[in-house]
């Protein structure tokens, strides 16, 4: 179906870029065969470290003419195998396209190349008194990857997700043509939003080479509360009350004691409080201290009224660091606590979060596997990890399959969806198909073939 990469192709790729940025055969590190998801890996035949839109266009044109599959890769921090070169071919690495091109203070936008890391973008914006609100836990992910998965993160409750902050994209189509979609404009009713199709398409429609992102003024004050509860059901049961109270919360995260202990072990650093079985972290931001303080008092009272044993105040850089650095490391910490794991990133309506989390406990008991979870209780997006621990190979595969089957069925029954922010990639294709059915999948296939008639861009992903 696809052509293998030949020396002639390598010569053409070198001509389009430069010899030191085209790696092939054994000189490609094993890292490029996988992302952060275990269980699926395949080496690309050639790795091209691109530097510009024009280089990407030249590579795509060559690939298209020679029917060679292309997979785009950022930092490789994905969790669903979306950047694995299932069919070999060319891997385009965008991490060297890491320039912040322009800060436009008159239009409140920042223009970036796709390889800029989330942490670099966050620091740059803060330095200039702006906030780029999407805040996924994995700060070493690239912005290109974030756009490709429509990443969400911890501030989604108030600010929304990556899609809400992408004003414009420059992208290279599989044919090698360059398109500019959207721009610095605030409104846009000009035909189909191709930009929005590319956002969240996991590298299957086009290669993003530049993005215009919307910024908001940096709130002057941000205060969080770490709220201890005597049970996970009390903790999560409080979330609908918080949402109903119309409290202006930026983040509502939940976590269990076990996860905190893993993160302490992983980071070698103690968490400020770990005596309670479950916690919520709540954040309020604003520009007026008295307004933020009043809001904090209101949510603290509400939580204590709903069964919280206290509400611990997280107001200075040091305190935020001690709480949020642990929260940001939960995924890696759970990973380090077991031999192998797979995750379920479902999203359910916010008033069903408690029911879903308690159900994960039931499944854990029923199947005899450990299933720790944490997540964005405020937006209904949960991160549930099925851990192998010391299970033998067949028992593990069996347990994982059963666990996922039960968890996704439950999410569907609660009117939830397969993925809140990590995407479908390779790993969740089956569950997406079950959720969406043939009508929606065939529309997706139609869109794919309009962009990529030869199916050379990231084949075998999403559906």
């Amino acid at each position: 179906m696809y052509n293998k990469v030949t020396q002639k192709d390598i010569d053409a790729l070198i001509a389009a870029t430069s010899a030191d940025r085209v790696l092939y055969g054994e000189s490609i590190s094993e890292d490029y065969s996988h992302d952060e998801l275990g269980g699926i890996s395949n080496m690309p035949e050639v790795l091209v470290k691109v530097l510009s839109t024009e280089e990407v266009a030249a590579v795509m044109k060559h690939a298209s003419q020679n029917k060679i599959p292309v997979v785009v890769r950022g930092s490789g921090t994905g969790l669903v195998g979306a950047s694995v070169a299932l069919h070999g071919g060319i891997m385009l690495e965008t991490t060297a396209m890491n320039k912040i091109l322009e800060l436009d203070e008159e239009n409140l936008t920042v223009t970036v190349q796709p390889g800029v890391l989330l942490m670099e973008l966050a620091a740059f914006c803060e330095e200039h008194d702006f906030l780029y609100p999407p805040d996924p836990g994995e700060k070493s992910a690239t912005i290109g990857g974030n756009i490709s998965t429509n990443a969400g993160g911890m501030r989604a409750v108030k600010y929304g997700v990556t899609r809400d902050y992408v004003r414009g994209l420059t992208a290279v189509l599989p044919s090698g043509e360059i398109v500019t979609l959207g721009g610095k404009v605030v409104k846009n009713s000009s035909g189909y939003s191709l930009k929005d199709l590319i956002i969240g398409s996991e590298g299957t429609l086009a290669v993003i080479t530049e993005a215009v992102l919307k910024l908001v003024p940096l709130p002057k004050i941000t205060t969080s509360l770490l709220v201890p509860f005597t049970s996970i059901s009390d903790a999560i049961g409080t979330v609908p009350l918080l949402i109903k109270s119309r409290a202006s919360l930026t983040a509502i995260e939940f976590m269990e004691q076990g996860t905190i202990l893993f993160s302490e072990e992983y980071l070698g650093k103690n968490f400020p409080d770990k005596k309670s079985p479950a916690y919520l972290i709540l954040t309020v931001d604003g520009n007026d201290k008295s307004v933020v303080d009043a809001e904090i008092d209101k949510v603290a009272e509400l939580c204590i009224g709903a069964g919280a044993t206290d509400a611990l105040i997280v107001d200075t850089e040091e305190r935020k660091g001690s709480v949020w650095s642990a929260r940001g490391a939960f995924l890696e910490a759970i990973k380090a606590s077991t031999t192998e794991m797979d995750e379920c990133d479902v999203v359910v309506p916010r008033n069903k979060v408690a029911e879903f989390v308690l159900y994960t406990h039931e499944v854990s008991k029923q199947l005899g596997v450990r299933i720790p979870s944490f997540g964005h209780a405020g937006d209904g997006n949960l991160h549930v990890y099925v851990c192998r621990d010391d299970l033998a190979d067949t028992a593990w595969k069996d347990a994982l399959e059963k666990a996922f089957d039960l968890l996704y069925k439950k999410a569907r029954a609660l009117s939830g969806l397969v993925s809140g922010e990590h995407g479908i990639g390779y790993a969740k294709k089956g569950f997406l198909a079950e959720d969406y059915g043939e009508t929606q999948l065939s529309l997706m296939r139609g869109i794919k073939s309009a962009f990529d008639p030869n199916c050379i861009l990231n084949p075998g992903k999403v559906f």
Binding site: L225, L226, K269, N270, F271, P272, D273, D297, A300, I304, D310, A311, L312, I313, V314, D315, T316, E317, E318, R319, S322, V323
Partner: protein, 263 residues
């Protein structure tokens, strides 16, 4: 055990202005917080109090708004506080500060141990703790990383002396200053905030309230040193590149990490 922890209120951010004439930090209108180093001292105090069935009292010198920092110490676990606040305390260098704090300690009554942060983020001198001990005539040890044991009138601690880690056993009462990251400071409690009458629990004293205070030893008057210039510490972001075989590089890395006490 009766424990006293000294704290200082410092600017909440690094973006602070300095008065070009006096060299003093302009604090008006700038958000403030507890000196981050003092949070480690507070935590060490609270956990020692828990182990010995004791209590923590806190002490600060500063403008009236420094009361906010002391309130936070109450919300974290302190039982009462003293604030020394008077224009006559103002403009103090480390010597005059330690003199004032020594007077404040007397106001707080009996104590077994005084705990200070290693240094402050605004002054960076790391001298007030040891000078305070000197004025009180008690033993002291700086840069304490861990309290190993506290019994029979002695305390055993480890201290980071740059090139070595020292274990020392010293007689109580004494003063220790706590190294950065010696622990994870606890957070202020909303329950304590709502239930405590902070105005009752924080006593504010002026110079006139302290009969044995010698004004010539306090504030700008009592400061033998003057600030000539304030500048941020030099940032060290240099890289060290080593070359050699894997074995040589392993040895080199081990040596480097152990000299810097990471392992």
């Amino acid at each position: 055990m009766n424990i006293i922890v000294c704290v200082k209120q410092v600017p909440g951010t690094n973006k602070v202005a300095v008065d070009p004439v006096t060299g003093v930090l302009i604090r008006d209108g700038v958000d403030s917080k507890i000196n981050p180093y003092d949070l480690f001292a507070l935590e060490e105090g609270f956990s020692l109090a828990e182990k010995t069935d004791g209590c923590v009292k806190t002490l600060s010198m500063g403008p009236p708004q420094a009361k906010e920092a002391l309130k936070e110490t109450l919300w974290m676990g302190a039982s009462e506080s003293v604030l020394l606040s008077d224009r006559k305390f103002g403009g103090a260098d480390v010597a005059a500060t330690s003199c004032a704090l020594a007077l404040g300690i007397k106001k707080l009554g009996e104590y077994d141990i005084i705990i200070c942060g290693k240094q402050t983020t605004d002054g960076d001198t790391a001298q007030v703790g040891p000078e305070l001990a000197q004025r009180l005539g008690i033993e002291h040890i700086a840069n304490v990383t861990e309290i190993l044991e506290c019994r029979d009138g002695y305390i055993t601690v480890t201290a980071d002396l740059d090139t070595v880690i020292q274990t020392a056993k010293i007689k109580l009462p004494c003063l220790i200053t706590i190294e950065k990251d010696a622990n994870t400071p606890r957070l202020p409690s909303y329950n304590r905030k709502k239930s405590m009458d902070c105005d009752e629990l924080i006593k504010v004293y002026s110079v006139a309230d302290i009969p044995d205070a010698d004004e010539n030893m306090l504030g700008l008057k009592g400061s033998p040193t003057q600030v000539e210039r304030i500048f941020p510490p030099e940032k060290n972001s240099g890289q060290e590149i080593s070359e050699g075989s894997s074995d040589e590089l392993c040895d080199k890395l081990f040596e480097l990490l152990s000299t810097r006490k990471f392992i």
